[in-house]
């Protein structure tokens, strides 16, 4: 029941803001809708914690701890983004007309709906459809500004995404084929994950291997795993900041969610070994690919994209390491990343809106004097996202690396540590140059004060920042319980 509500609310919101024709109305609708979604997600989490799984329509929609976690994270990200979006677009009042805004405020709820659908759909086919839907709903968010570059980004996003998803579909079909011997396979429930997971051991091994390969590439494309990552920097730097944040923190989770589901099936069918080595390889590759681009990066929007490629890599590395800590570390990482990355995007957005550029060398530095709040939070978020203690991402990375060493994957772990240090160096060099320094010539000591006209941006900033700081020292018990149960599912425990 709750699941239906969760899905219905954003749909309705989308419809309403399509009908609405005033900016404040649309803002209110979105804000209210996402607030409601978050509340419902909270309830869902409570129910899941209480009795394991919640399902509707005889198992067509089903939410276990893993889905609940993803739903929760999506809801948080969506709310934060909608809060920020208000401020963001109000500051662009002068060159954005209401019709375009309607496009944004209509597509965003649909986008969120698709993401939630991915999480709660039990049928792998439906999950695929929902994933495709996330692409389709977000294309026009990326092409929002209608610049040549944003069209380019959108095109690449659609093409690469389309190919990736067709691979994912192929994988799904093969999975179905691999499961054909299972009694009752050719009914609708035949593609239900809960059913498949139960019978996975009887699947046809070879087919499952191919299926996993294709799915890995397919959902990996959505998650932006190297070498399928190429659409990310373009999309993230062209989309409006809130949308970009949602792509980085929302879609990533959904794609990885899909990957986890199939990994469990493959692991139960052909043993974890096969999947693990692929995951480790691609995870390491993604982290490694991020390194050079972070080191010599010109734009502080694109560098965020590479950071999320890097984090996607870390997560599937954790999934690949497996063991007691691997999946747990991965999901912890997913949680912490989902609150940290949007914060970074928001700061970058403020800076870009103020300086009218996203290039490091154009921004003369000394940001801390011009915009103290954003500047300091940006520095903090930068440190947090590079996994610097005492911020929470360090805990998850530590867990993942520990899983690697305990699993005997010494070489990958060593490489991972090396890459992470280098990435940190790149980030520190770039952002310290951006934030610190003398007062730039542009704004003297006279205007040496915070100039962020719209308070909403500050709300989202400070709210998320405080969450990040708190998570660094204290993780609420129930949340950890949820994550641990989710990790049990992800690590394939029956």
């Amino acid at each position: 029941m709750i699941l239906l509500f969760i899905l219905a609310v954003p749909l309705a919101a989308g419809a309403m803001s399509f009908a609405a024709n005033k900016r404040p109305a649309m803002e209110k609708i979105n804000l209210g809708a996402f607030g409601l979604v978050l509340a419902l997600a909270g309830i869902l989490v409570v129910q899941v914690l209480r009795d394991g799984r919640v399902s509707a329509w005889d198992g067509f929609l089903e939410a276990d701890s893993l889905s609940a976690l993803v739903v929760l994270l999506t809801a948080v990200v969506a709310l934060a983004c909608s809060v920020y979006a208000i401020g963001y677009f109000r500051d662009e009042r002068d060159h954005i007309m209401v019709s375009e805004l309607r496009k944004y405020y209509t597509l965003t709820p649909l986008f969120v709906f698709a993401m939630l659908m991915v999480a709660v759909a039990n049928n792998l086919g439906v999950m695929w459809v929902a994933t495709e839907a996330t692409t389709l709903t977000s294309v026009f968010l990326i092409a929002f500004y209608g610049r040549a570059t944003s069209l380019e980004a959108a095109w690449k996003y659609t093409m690469i995404g389309g190919v990736g998803l067709s691979m994912a579909l192929f994988g799904t079909i093969l999975t179905y084929y691999a499961a054909r011997n299972v009694p009752g396979a050719d009914t609708l429930a035949g593609l239900n994950w809960s059913v498949l997971a139960r019978n996975a051991p009887q699947f046809d091994g070879t087919t499952m291997k191919f299926a996993f390969i294709l799915v890995l590439l397919g959902y990996g494309t959505k998650a932006g795993i190297a070498p399928m990552h190429t659409w990310k920097p373009d999309a993230y730097s062209e989309a409006p900041v809130p949308a970009a944040a949602m792509l980085a923190a929302g879609v990533l989770n959904c794609a990885l969610y899909g990957l986890i589901r199939f990994h469990v099936l493959a692991a139960r069918c052909v043993g974890p070994q096969f999947g693990s080595q692929l995951l480790i390889f691609f995870g390491l590759l993604s982290i490694g690919v991020a390194v050079p681009f972070v080191l010599v990066q010109k734009s502080f929007r694109r560098i965020l994209a590479y950071s999320s490629i890097d984090h996607g890599g870390i997560m599937i590395l954790g999934l690949g390491f497996g063991g007691a800590f691997g999946a747990l570390g991965m999901l912890l990482h997913m949680t912490f990343h989902s609150v940290t990355k949007p914060l970074l995007f928001f700061c970058a957005g403020n800076v870009q809106q103020r300086l009218k550029t996203d290039l490091f060398h154009r921004a003369k530095g000394g940001l801390i004097h011009a915009m103290p709040v954003t500047g300091s939070i940006l520095m903090m978020a930068m440190l947090a996202v590079t996994g610097t203690p005492p911020f929470s991402l360090f805990q998850s990375e530590f867990t993942i690396l520990r899983a690697g060493v305990t699993g005997g994957h010494l070489v990958p772990t060593a490489f991972c540590v090396g890459f992470l240090v280098t990435i940190f160096a790149g980030f520190l060099v770039h952002f310290s140059r951006l934030v610190l320094g003398p007062v730039p010539a542009g704004h003297g000591s006279a205007s040496n004060t915070e100039q962020e006209p719209c308070p909403w941006k500050k709300y989202s900033l400070i709210g998320l920042a405080s969450i990040v700081v708190i998570l660094g020292f204290w993780l609420p018990r129930p949340l950890f319980e949820l994550i641990r149960n989710a990790a049990r599912i992800a690590s394939g425990e029956p």
């Binding site: 093409m159 890995l216 681009f293 520190l428």
Partner: protein, 677 residues
């Protein structure tokens, strides 16, 4: 009791941090509250450490962290308490000093921020020294690095400061990476993150694992300690920080590396291989020698002091290295002696280096320059500062009867005894190390004759120095306490030694303070009274007694003698001016010539003259020495990495066809892989 004091101290630091954030800007409150609370916290920590050292009790506390299986654990054993003792001593004095020093910062609104990070740094240092599991240790370690980074880049308006800060933080983070890897290996071997389990599980640590772990930790802690060749950040980062922070960093932050080495090498590593000890010893000698040689070439007072930190870390490592070798060779009492030498020097260096940096700070505060060539004659203008600095200079030069002498003496004794521990040729290592240590000490004395003489003596070389004023009583008090500590730790060495029993018992498996104290506490002995004794107190007493003789000599017919002050002989020139004075640069000239092979000095002289080259109108003289590690090691590596990175950018050239091709190829390859398997 102990825990109350301990956590009370931590809370005080925390309160200080908060106060720094919320106290009204541009008022006295941030300064007073931050420094006051830090002072209070320091006092509490001092009590805690003294209590636990006295009782020998091992206190242990756990606080559940964010993720349940990663806990914040504190453990206060002998070693931790010893370092807490050092830390809190410095915290107290520096806080007193800062009360005066930060007054100059008050018109800037950022003094609160400084106070915030200062308190955070103190708290995280406390945590580093007391962390009881790898996870919390890393957290505290990086928090320490982070806060010190923020403090280093406090004057971030200067480009030099920013780059120094970044260099520091990047290298420190790389070090942390090594530590992370090392701890992960340990935990994989032992199956836990608890230090206690590391210590108990050290037996099965052998072969390549042990080697890898040793190297990782040596690199990781070495970066922080500033051993050569991982030192390049140190002379950049320490000078640019506000002086009270420089004092804290050179005094105790780099000691975190030493603490870590003591912890890991002697407690977790089991029986270290002989080459490990040799490595540490050699690195120590090299660091000591090169550190002091580069210090000699510096004319920036704070950079000079920073290089001396490298030197003293080297001396400490000489002690540690030989201790490791002794453990391997099975001489536990000798190991204890060497370990004591190293640890004692750790404390002494913390104290006199802090004293010297505070002195430099008050010179900077008075004369507004760090360049020694612009100073001079300050002894008349800031006599108290000068006196304290002199004490520090004597102590760091290892001259009797101050504390530096005691620890160096112990080091010599350990090295001498080491000669008998093995038959192989490695035995030569010990005396040669001793000889080079002697060279180091002598060069250090030279360097501080320069530092003190040029800075404080003779005529002021600039009107900045002319207008210098003595610092206020807070700053002087801070320095005075440390000066007293230098003397006390020198004269009262025998009273202090028993402190080490708890540590050496755990780390080296022997308690030797009994043997080290001879003649009823009057003298210090090297293991046995035969082996040689020294008594700083006795020497000091003798000095006082003997001063009767010159007293008498000067007393005879004093009435007839007149004592006039006249102008210094100026070679017949019209009056002696500061141009005539010997400069710091000239002072170190002979050594620059002698060690030219090392310095590779480059000089250029441009003379402008009208009639004949023998009567130049103006002469420009430039000279610079090479800094080999930057130019030969780090810069090339960085260049290569960045070049590679730029080449890699071709991957993302913007062509969608290429992007699709990547996926396509991957797909084909994986499909074939699937076919094969």
């Amino acid at each position: 009791m102990i825990d109350r004091a301990f956590f009370g101290g931590l809370l005080a630091y925390g309160a200080g941090a908060v106060a720094g954030l919320i106290a009204p800007r541009r008022s006295v409150w941030p300064r007073v509250l931050c420094c006051g609370l830090a002072l209070f916290g320091g006092l509490l920590e001092l009590c805690a450490s003294i209590l636990s050292l006295a009782s020998g009790a091992h206190a242990h506390w756990e606080i559940p962290a964010g993720v349940p299986f990663l806990a914040y654990g504190f453990r206060l054993d002998a070693l931790s308490s010893y370092f807490i003792l050092i830390l809190s001593l410095l915290a107290v004095t520096i806080s007193i000093y800062s009360l005066g020093y930060l007054r100059a910062f008050e018109e800037k609104k950022t003094v609160g921020l400084l106070g915030f990070f200062y308190n955070v740094l103190l708290a995280s240092l406390t945590a580093v020294f007391t962390a009881s599991n790898a996870f919390f240790f890393l957290i505290a370690w990086e928090a320490m690095a982070l806060s010190s980074y923020c403090l280093v880049s406090f004057h971030h308006r200067e480009e030099s400061t920013r780059s120094a800060g970044v260099l520091y933080f990047v290298m420190s983070h790389a070090g942390t990476g090594c530590l992370l890897a090392g701890f992960l290996l340990l935990s994989a071997r032992v199956g836990s993150l608890e230090f206690s389990d590391f210590a108990s599980g050290r037996a099965e640590l052998t072969g390549p694992w042990q080697a890898a772990i040793f190297l990782l930790f040596f690199a990781g802690f070495g970066v922080k300690a500033g051993i050569i060749p991982l030192h390049i950040w140190l002379p950049e980062a320490h000078p640019v920080a506000p002086s009270n922070i420089s004092a804290l960093m050179s005094g105790i932050v780099i000691k975190c590396g030493i603490y870590g080495m003591a912890r890991v090498f002697f407690e977790f590593l089991g029986m270290p291989p002989l080459w490990a000890g040799i490595t540490v010893l050699i690195v120590g000698v090299v660091s000591a020698l090169l550190g002091v040689l580069y210090a000699l070439m510096e004319h920036d007072l704070k950079r000079l002091l920073a290089y001396h930190s490298i030197e003293n870390i080297g001396i400490i490592l000489i002690g540690f290295g030989s201790a490791m070798m002794f453990i391997t060779l099975g001489y536990h009492r000798l190991a204890a002696l060497a370990l004591i030498a190293g640890l004692y020097h750790t404390m002494n260096h913390a104290i006199f280096k802090c004293l010297l940096f505070l002195g430099a700070g008050s010179v900077l505060h008075g004369a507004h320059t760090r360049n020694m060539e612009e100073m001079g004659g300050l002894i008349g203008r800031m006599p108290r500062t000068a006196f304290c600095f002199l004490v520090g200079a004597i102590a760091i030069s290892g001259l009797p009867p101050l504390n530096g002498f005691v620890s160096e003496w112990l080091t010599y004794q350990a090295l001498l005894a080491g000669f008998g521990t093995t038959e192989s040729l490695t035995r030569v290592l010990f005396p040669v190390a001793g000889a080079l240590l002697a060279l180091t000490a002598a060069l250090a004395a030279t360097c501080f004759v320069k530092a003190f003489g040029i800075t404080f003596l003779a005529l002021p070389r600039s009107e900045k120095a002319e207008r210098a004023r003595e610092s206020d009583s807070f700053m002087v008090t801070g320095m005075a306490i440390l000066a007293v500590a230098c003397v006390a730790l020198g004269l009262g060495a025998t009273l202090f030694l028993p402190v080490f029993d708890g540590i050496t018992a755990r780390l080296a498996g022997a308690q030797v303070s009994g043997d080290l104290i001879a003649a009823g506490g009057l003298a210090l002995s090297a293991g046995s009274a035969r082996g040689g004794t020294v008594s700083p107190a006795g020497l000091a007493a003798t000095f006082v007694i003997l001063s009767v003789i010159p007293g008498l000599l000067l007393a005879v017919r004093r009435s007839k003698r007149k004592r006039v002050t006249g102008p210094t002989w100026d070679c017949g020139l019209p009056g002696l001016t500061s141009e005539n004075e010997y400069t710091a640069f000239a002072f170190s000239k002979p050594l620059r010539m002698i060690f030219a092979a090392l310095y590779q000095p480059r000089r250029e002289i441009q003379a402008e003259y009208e009639v004949s080259p023998y009567y130049p109108k103006a002469i420009r003289f430039d000279s610079e020495i090479e800094s080999p590690f930057e130019e030969r090691l780090y810069v090339p590596v960085q260049r290569v990495v960045l070049a590679l990175a730029r080449r890699m950018r071709a991957i993302q050239a913007g062509s969608i066809h290429a992007y699709l091709a990547y996926i396509f190829v991957t797909l084909i390859v994986l499909l074939l892989y699937g076919v094969r398997s």
